[in-house]
Each structure stands twice: as C-alpha cells, then as structure tokens.
C-alpha cells in the first residue's frame, strides 16, 4: 500500500540522486524534496504503516501520532530553511549529506520499534559527519573523527540496550521504556549522548563550530532534538532527568560567557536550552511534556536563525571570534537584524517564540513544587539572555568597531534567515497555532499580565547588569583562548595516560626484538663459523679421512659389543 512508503526515504533516496542534477534544476529539486515529504506527512492519517515481520517481531517503519508528527513537521521546516540557506553552495557532498541526514532524522522520529530506530540513529551520525569533514581542514578532520566516534558509541549503547530490553520484555516496540531494567539504562545513555547530557555533552561544542558555514546550521537542528524526541517518547516522568536537565541549563552558560568563538558560544547555549527540555520531560506532567516538545520546536528555529547569522558573519568576515569582530552592523545590517530576532527569541522576550514555550516548563516546575530546580532554571533564563541574547549580537555587530567592512550576506541566506525570523515571531505572537499540534490538550495561557511583567523585569535587569559591568570594565574581554571542558578527558588526559603505557610497551617490544636479533646474530655467527665457506664442518674432506673415521666408529662398536 502506498501509505506504507516511509517519508524518510523521500529525502534519503531523493538526496542520493542530487549529484545527477545541476544548476537551477538542482535548486528546484532540493527545495522540492522537503516540501514533498511535508505534504506526504500532512495527508497521512494517524496510524502505523510499513509493518515488516523480522525475527518474530513486527517492525514499524512509520508510526504517525501527535508526538512524531510535531517533530516531523519541524524537522522538515528546518530542512527547507537549510536548503535555502545553502543554495549558493557548490559542494555536492554537502547537499547529499545534508539531505540524507535530514531524512534519517525523520526516519528515526517515525520509527515504531527500536531496531528501525537504531538503523536511522546510526545513519544520522554517519551522514552528518560529512558536513564537518566538508570543511576540508585538518582541524575539521580530527574534530569530525571525534564526533563520529561519539555518535557511533551512542548507537552501540542503543543496540545493546534494545537487545537487553527485548530479552527482558519480549518486545522491540519503541514506547515508554523507563528505567526499570538494565536495557532502559543503556538506552537512556544512548539518548543522553545525543541530547548532550552533562559529561556526555562535549562532542557538541567540539564539533559543531568546526563544520562548514551551512553544515553547522544543519547540525544544530537535528541530532540533539532527535535525542529530545526519543527521551520524550521513552522516558517521560523519569525524575533523574530533572536533575540532569537542571545541570545542563546552568553549567554551560559560565563557559559561554568566556568563550571567544561565537559559534561555540551558541553550542553552549544549545546545551542550556536542551536542559530546559530535559527538565520538562523529567517532570513528565502533560504541561511539562507539552512545554518540552514545544520548546524543542521553537529552539530548532531560533537556534538555526542564530547559527545562520553567525554563519553569514563567518562567510563574509572570515571569522566568528568575538575578539576580532565588532561594528559589523554597518556592513551587514540585515544579518544583524535577524540575529537580534533570534536573540530575542532564545531569551524569551514577550512576542518571541521561547516566551510561549519555555514558560510552560517553568510553570510545570513551580506547580510540581520543584523549587530549587525552578530557581536554577530562572538563573539559566537570565544567563541565556546574557550570553546568547546580548553577547552574540553585541560582540559580532556592535561593541568597538573592528574596522572590518564586508558585503551583506548572500540573498539566499537572507531569505532563509527571514523565514526563520518570521516563524520565531509568528510562534510568539500566535502561540495557539503551535499549541494546537502539541501532544496533549493545551491548558496554558502564556500572556498573563504577571508573566509578561515578570519576564520583562528579569530580562531588562539582566541587560542592566551587562551594561553596568561593561561600563565599569569588569566584564571580561573576549580573549583568544580555548577553555578546557570534558573533551579534555579524552583529548589530553587519556592520551597522556596511554602514552607512557604505549611507550613502555614499545620499549619492551624493542628490547625483546633486540634480544632476539642479538641471539639470532650469535647463532648465525656460530653456524657460519662451523658451516660457512671457511667452517671446519663444511670442508670437503679427503676419502682417506672418511675411511679413518669409519674405522674409528667400527672399533668403538666392537669395543662396546665386548663390554
């Protein structure tokens, strides 16, 4: 039946055919793929399609329900925006990898069983690393290798967890799993790596800023939000997630304040925003889960917008280091404007998207009596305005004039940013449109007078703190530097521990080799002495001596016989 055709394959198979196209045809083709997949989802009624029997299990390739549809829609919107943003790119590899990456994320979202999920899960890792390697620098090469190893590791955890879960429950269905069994714990680690849990997070800050201008935007939309979707599906109401999420919201903002690479600052703020979603899933009430997935929807758009604006800066100014930028609003006023819309959205200003999504999570935390968590989330809300809302636009486009004069971003990039900005404002102004597609019936009013005033006070006084610190010179300057994070463990500590061991082993092998060589040499010398051309045993002896020796032997024999 035609309904059994997985929507993911439209993008994956379609993406593989991209190399056959050129020029305008390619542009039209790339734009058509996500639109076609979107239309496909739009007409498909809820239900389970593409059921395949395998090892006595029913695999479900397409499970269409409210949760998967919401993520499916936003991933396709993100894919379309990304296509527009990358239209000027000539590199075919990036177009193919991007489309396969988007498609495999879509496949994972609609997977109804853990095996199908695993296959798409690994495919997202493999296809997305090409967007990092496409930068074609040694640095990107190495960062990409670290990235893909972590992604594949996540897949290994998922597969192991799925098999243990199957043994325990007899089912491979991808539904609520929870932490009751060992399989659940392994699967949580797998999802945790993708969602960048604390200490499992650093692949994100490590790799994303090393990808290409357009690749980073693509990466920002899919992998981590797939992790959030998987958590919302399998672990809602798992209390441990509240604490994990709270930690995620808080610690990255300290790093973001002192980080110089502005795309890396955004990577840290991504971690912070994911934390809010993880908290919402951990609380697990209808309001909280609604808030988590709504915030994921909004986050994909405003984070893409911010990464797009920084990508445009990287393309035109050649750098995104805060220490080298400043005053770019003169050269790139449109990009600056779109960046500010993204900044206002992530900071949850009234009339912008996060105001109507993040607040659901905050409200749920307060209503369920998680006071400490709520206070940390409030701290993180002030902090995200500080580092993403103010720092990003301020150091790139304002601050002191760096003297850089460049062209405005290309038209296709501006169009992509405009669409994302319009959606950010649209969600903020008309929240009911987003609320109507949430998994649970909405019973939430974002625009209460108290909420608007509270939020404005929080933000304006955060901005005042920034201004005061700036004017008094207390604010730390942007410095060329790298700040150690958990990747230090495997980039420095582990190698430094392994290196002496490796050196010892190599010394041992060398010593062993030397001994063997030495002994062999002595043996050879010995053999040579006796059997070589001059060796006593290699001489050709006269027949007489042969007869003599034969006589000696016979005499010896005779002697022994008589004894």
């Amino acid at each position: 039946m035609i309904a059994d055709f997985p929507a993911a394959l439209i993008l994956i198979l379609g993406g593989l055919l991209v190399p056959l196209t050129r020029g305008r045809v390619r542009a039209a083709y790339l734009l058509a793929l996500p639109v076609a997949a979107f239309a496909w989802l739009f007409v498909l009624p809820h239900g389970e399609y593409g059921q395949v029997q395998f090892l006595g299990q029913t695999l479900v390739l397409m499970r269409v329900d409210r949760l998967s549809l919401l993520f499916g829609y936003v991933f396709l919107i993100a894919a379309l925006i990304n296509v527009i943003y990358a239209l000027h790119v000539e590199d075919t590899v990036q177009h193919v990898a991007g489309m396969v990456y988007a498609g495999s994320t879509l496949g994972a979202v609609f997977a109804g069983d853990l095996l199908t999920l695993f296959v798409y899960w690994e495919l997202t890792g493999i296809s997305s690393v090409l967007l990092i390697w496409a930068r074609r620098t040694e640095r990107a090469q190495r960062a990409g290798m670290r990235y893909v190893l972590v992604q594949l590791l996540s897949g290994m955890f998922l597969l192991a967890g799925a098999l243990v879960h199957w043994r325990a429950t007899g089912s491979l269905r991808f539904d609520y799993i929870g932490l009751s069994g060992a399989g659940g714990a392994l699967i949580l680690v797998a999802f945790g790596i993708k969602s960048a849990f604390p200490l499992l997070h650093n692949w994100l800050q490590d790799a994303y800023p090393e990808a290409t201008v357009t690749g980073t935007v693509m990466l920002s939309a899919f992998t981590t939000k797939l992790g959030i979707y998987a958590l919302a599906r399998a672990f809602p109401g798992t209390e441990m997630l509240i604490w994990i999420g709270v930690t995620m919201t808080a610690f990255p903002i300290f790093y973001a304040v002192i980080e110089n690479d502005l795309r890396r600052v955004l990577a840290y703020s991504m971690n912070n925003q994911l934390g809010f979603m993880v908290v919402g899933i951990g609380i697990g009430t209808e309001l909280a889960v609604n808030g988590a997935v709504a915030h994921a929807f909004a986050d994909i758009l405003f984070k893409a917008l911010l990464f797009m604006s920084m990508g445009a800066v990287l393309l035109r100014a050649g750098t995104v280091k805060g220490s080298e930028l400043g005053g770019l609003y003169k050269s790139m006023p449109w990009t600056a404007g779109f960046c500010i819309v993204g900044a206002a959205s992530i900071s949850a200003f009234p009339l912008f998207s996060a105001f109507v999504t993040k607040s659901m999570i905050m409200s749920a935390a307060a209503q369920e009596g998680h006071v400490i968590s709520w206070l940390v989330l409030l701290f993180a809300s002030a902090g995200v305005f500080h580092h993403a809302g103010i720092k990003i636009p301020y150091f790139a486009f304002f601050a002191h004039d760096s003297g850089i004069r460049c062209k405005e971003a290309p038209l296709n990039m501006l169009v992509a940013m405009a669409i994302a900005a319009a959606l950010c404002v649209g969600i903020g102004v008309m929240p009911f449109a987003l609320y109507s597609i949430l998994p649970y019936a909405p019973g939430y009013e974002a625009y209460s007078p108290s909420h608007v005033v509270d939020q404005l006070q929080l933000l304006i006084f955060s901005a005042l703190a920034f201004s005061v610190l700036m004017r008094t010179g207390i604010y730390p300057p942007e410095l060329k530097s790298v700040n150690l994070d958990s990747d230090w463990l495997y980039r420095r500590l582990a190698p430094s521990l392994v290196a002496p061991a490796a050196r010892g082993l190599s010394n041992m092998l060398q010593a062993f080799g030397a001994t063997v060589a030495h002994s062999w040499g002595r043996l050879a010398t010995l053999l040579y002495r006796h059997h070589g051309p001059e060796g006593v045993l290699a001489r050709s002896w006269p027949t007489g001596s042969m007869a003599l020796w034969a006589m000696v032997l016979l005499l010896g024999y005779l002697l022994l016989y008589y004894l």
């Binding site: 002192i258 902090g383 500080h386 108290s450 005033v453 006070q457 005042l464 201004s467 150690l484």
Partner: protein
Amino acid sequence: MKDEKTYWLDRSENITKLYRGLWGIGIFLLLFDFVMHKHEDLDFAAWSGFYAGFGFLACVALVLAAKEILRRLFKRPEDYYDR
C-alpha cells in the same frame, strides 16, 4: 575609511543615552510590582522586585564566577590542543 559616514551609535553620548534609557525602562517596570497584584505559583516570586533583583544579581554572579573562577582554572592558549 576617512570619508565614511558616522553612525548614530558611533557617538559615545548616544550610548550614554541608551544606557540611561535602559535604566528608565527598568525602573518603570519595577513600579508595576507596587501597583499590580501578581499571580505566582511560588509565594516568594510575588515579592516586590524579586525578578528584577534576581536577574541583576544572577548576571553579575554569572560573569564574576566565569571570569574569576572558570577562566583562571580552564583558560588555555588557543593552540592548546594543536601542540
């Protein structure tokens, strides 16, 4: 560069105007706490000036901690991992 036009933001007195304007907005917003009855899920959040004070202090604490603690402990030269 010499003939380039001067933007409004290039003049430092305008920055000062913006700075004072921001304080004006902040104080105006603070006044709401004294005239408006707030509905809060948590009691202490209804205290006058709670959000304003929290926002200001949170950001100062954030910056100082990042600058004085994190940077001292974890800042390394840019080519740290490339050496």
